[in-house]
């Protein structure tokens, strides 16, 4: 029995008593009509019966049409040929009419039934095309390979009204259950290729590549439905291939980006770790080897140099650690009330030796000192900003640290008198490993420090930006941080 898509059930000979009943009713109606028309020549009445046969053929196909013909002959004979109400026929004319009627009924009935079949087939083809088209659109809209597999299994299960599943092959060609229709029990992986009679297996693949099999459990599909399922599977396989290619491409891009970052990290690590190490090893070995030829001043200079470089190394390692902590993106800030002047004094103390060549001015407004933040991270941020300012400042230049309150936010600025940052670079300098090797003193630094500043500012739900410094000279690194809700003032205990 054919019963697929959304077509109304077509009628096959011998299959539907209802169709025969309807044909019989049509003949009864024709008989009643002929009673009304009684008096016309019997040949005309035969035409009315003929019409009932054609209707039956068009509506219900060949079988009911033949039944209608035979019934019509008997009815015609019994009611309308002389002698009436008998099956006997006296007139030769009536015999001819009956015979002709049978002949014409057979031919027209058959023609009408074939016409019906043709219409039915056209409808089937239309439905099938539209179904494939819709499925194909759904496939094209999906770029997710798993979604494609799910859509296909669902569709196949709906069409066959049976559990369906897709098995793909893993690296060792073993079948893996990749998708199944959720609402029905999934088949067992072990049963693939099983010669079970109640299972339909359709190859899932393209001419270029086999992916696996679609298995419909518990039914053997008739040819037409199998063909449709196979067509859907083929469409899905093409979409699946395309989605997999897109996945591969994306993965390759992510891998390339990771690789690029990794090599940038490696080159910056080797540069920024080796440079201070070179000074330390050089200074220490000079102290050891030239012990007697160095005067007190030279010795002291080398010793101080070793300390400064070691501290630089320590800061860089701290930055690397912070970067990995922030890079994971799961950092939870432990916040507390922090005095900004403590943050600044801590940073200045840590950079004491590096900042000795510059003049440092601190201008913190009294209402801009308390902030709800992570003090250690803020201090690291100020250290990085000062380090950056020192790197790009001319010797003897002024580095200003300013803090003020503005609409519930604390604005902290570190201003230098260096070459400034061109407008096109002002956003990029906060990228990891951006390097602006245009500093006045030719220092080649890496952008890790500023990237960490941005990460710290962001972690506090604040922001950082590079703007031109005072009177358009140099750079002003401007950090904006939410100040936090201060508790009410404590009662005086004077």
């Amino acid at each position: 029995m054919l019963r697929w898509l959304s077509l109304p059930p077509p009628v096959i000979a011998g299959a539907n008593a209802r169709a025969y009943g309807m044909s019989g009713l049509i003949v009864v109606a024709a008989t009643l009509a002929c009673f009304l028309l009684n008096g016309l020549p019997s040949a005309n009445l035969a035409l009315v019966f003929l019409m009932s046969v054609i209707f039956s053929a068009a509506l219900f196909g060949t079988g009911p049409a033949i039944a209608a013909s035979i019934l019509s002959v008997f009815s015609f004979n019994y009611f309308f040929t002389a002698p009436q109400f008998t099956l006997r026929v006296d007139s030769r004319e009536d015999i001819a009419t009956l015979l002709l009627f049978l002949l014409i009924a057979a031919v027209t009935g058959n023609l009408a039934a074939r016409m019906r079949g043709a219409i039915e087939q056209t409808n089937h083809a239309l439905e099938r095309t539209s179904s494939l088209y819709q499925f194909s659109r759904a496939m094209n809209a999906s770029s997710n390979s798993q979604e494609i597999l799910r859509t296909l299994t669902k569709r196949a299960a709906d069409l066959c009204d049976a559990p369906a599943a897709i098995f793909t092959r893993d690296a060792s060609e073993a079948p893996v259950l990749a998708a199944w229709e959720r609402d029905r029990p999934g088949p067992q992986a072990g049963r693939v290729g099983d010669e079970s009679p109640v299972q339909t297996v359709v190859e899932f693949g393209t001419p270029r590549q086999r992916f696996g099999q679609l298995v419909v459990e518990g039914v053997t599909l008739k040819e037409e439905r199998l063909e449709l399922v196979a067509a859907l599977t083929e469409l899905a396989a093409l979409a699946y291939e395309r989605a997999r290619l897109a996945d591969d491409l994306e993965q390759a891009q992510v891998a390339a980006e990771t690789e690029r970052l990794r090599s940038a990290l490696l080159s910056s690590v080797s540069h920024d770790l080796r440079t201070p190490l070179a000074s330390i090893i050089g200074g220490a070995s000079s102290l050891l080897d030239l012990e007697h030829s160095l005067d007190e001043r030279a010795r002291r200079e080398l010793q101080t140099g070793i300390l400064i470089e070691a501290e630089k190394l320590n800061r860089y390692i701290q930055n690397l650690l912070d970067m990995t902590r922030f890079g994971r993106g799961d950092i939870v800030l432990k916040r507390d009330w922090v005095d900004l002047s403590d943050v600044v004094s801590g940073a200045l103390a840590r950079l004491q030796r590096d900042l000795s060549a510059f003049r440092v001015a601190v201008d913190l407004q009294p209402d801009a000192t308390l902030i709800y933040a992570n003090g250690a991270f803020l201090e690291q941020m100020v250290v990085n900003l000062l380090d950056n300012a020192a790197r790009y400042s001319p010797a003897g230049g002024v580095i200003t640290i300013a803090g003020r309150r503005q609409e519930g936010a604390i604005i902290l600025e570190v201003i230098d008198e260096g070459a400034g940052v061109p407008e096109s670079e002002r956003e990029r300098i906060f990228n990891m490993f951006y390097s602006a090797d245009k500093g006045d003193r030719g220092a080649k630094g890496i952008g890790l420090g500023l990237a960490i500043c941005r990460a710290i500012a962001n972690a506090h739900k604040g922001s950082i930006a590079a703007i031109p410094g005072l009177a358009g000279r140099g750079t002003c690194m401007q950090v904006t941080l939410p100040a936090g809700e201060a508790p009410p003032e404590e009662a005086s205990d004077e």
């Binding site: 507390d336 005095d339 200045l348 250690a376």
Partner: protein, 230 residues
């Protein structure tokens, strides 16, 4: 420094750091005993009865924090822990577990020497009964409860005085936010660091201690405060 050499126990697994500590401490007139491991260090502490212990928190056999806890079950020897910068919480935990102070690795020897000196002074418990204290131009008269800066008396609120008294009694030693809050505000004010910041700000102002480069009331970021007298 006392007549006899003060004895310092170093528990640290890095040989190079032990060597640099031994050379420097001996050069400053201390006698030094060393241990590479926590268990061994505890045993050595019982046997040698040192005046100060220098304890690394990252030991190969026992966690430094556990060493502290076990040590405090039977000994009051002052302990300086060696910690790493990136973890303030670790320092606070160690201080809560009974450590007296810390230095952050990498550190300069002068920093560690200052800590050890402060602890040795504290251990002799002389300051606890001193009627007076002075650092720079600050003079505190504990008996009369007066404070003067450069010879001029200043007026402190009750809490400001309490804070200054606590810090100066432990000059050179770190005090955690918690220790200060408990002492000045009493128990139940663990979250009131905002008031503490404000109070320190006022006290610095009255003492003429510049907030962006304080000389006396120094902030240990994320840990607490330290009164520096030297």
């Amino acid at each position: 420094m006392s007549e006899e050499k003060a004895k310092i126990l170093i528990i640290e697994d890095e040989a190079e750091i032990r060597r640099f500590l031994r050379i420097s401490l001996e050069a400053h007139g201390y006698s030094v005993v060393e241990s590479r491991l926590g268990e061994e260090g505890l045993a050595l502490c019982a046997k040698e009865n040192p005046d100060v212990m220098v304890l690394d928190l990252g030991l190969p056999d026992v966690d430094g924090q556990d060493v502290l806890v076990r040590l405090r079950e039977w000994s009051k020897v002052p302990v300086v822990v060696l910690s790493v910068r990136s973890d303030e919480q670790e320092k606070v935990t160690a201080l809560d577990a009974g450590a007296n102070d810390y230095v952050t690795k990498p550190f300069g020897i002068s920093e560690l020497l200052a800590r050890i000196r402060a602890l040795l002074r504290g251990a002799h418990a002389e300051r606890e009964s001193l009627p007076q204290f002075s650092a720079g131009d600050i003079t505190i008269d504990y008996v009369a409860r007066t404070v003067s800066v450069g010879g001029k008396p200043i007026h402190l609120s009750r809490k400001e005085y309490k804070l200054l008294q606590l810090l100066s009694r432990h000059a050179g030693q770190v005090l955690t936010h918690q220790q200060i809050l408990d002492h000045v505000w009493g128990q139940g004010h663990r979250e009131d660091t905002h008031y503490l910041r404000v109070l320190v700000g006022h006290l610095r102002q009255k003492l003429g201690d510049p907030p962006s480069a304080p000389k006396h009331i120094v902030t240990e970021q994320g840990v607490g405060y330290r009164f520096v007298a030297e």
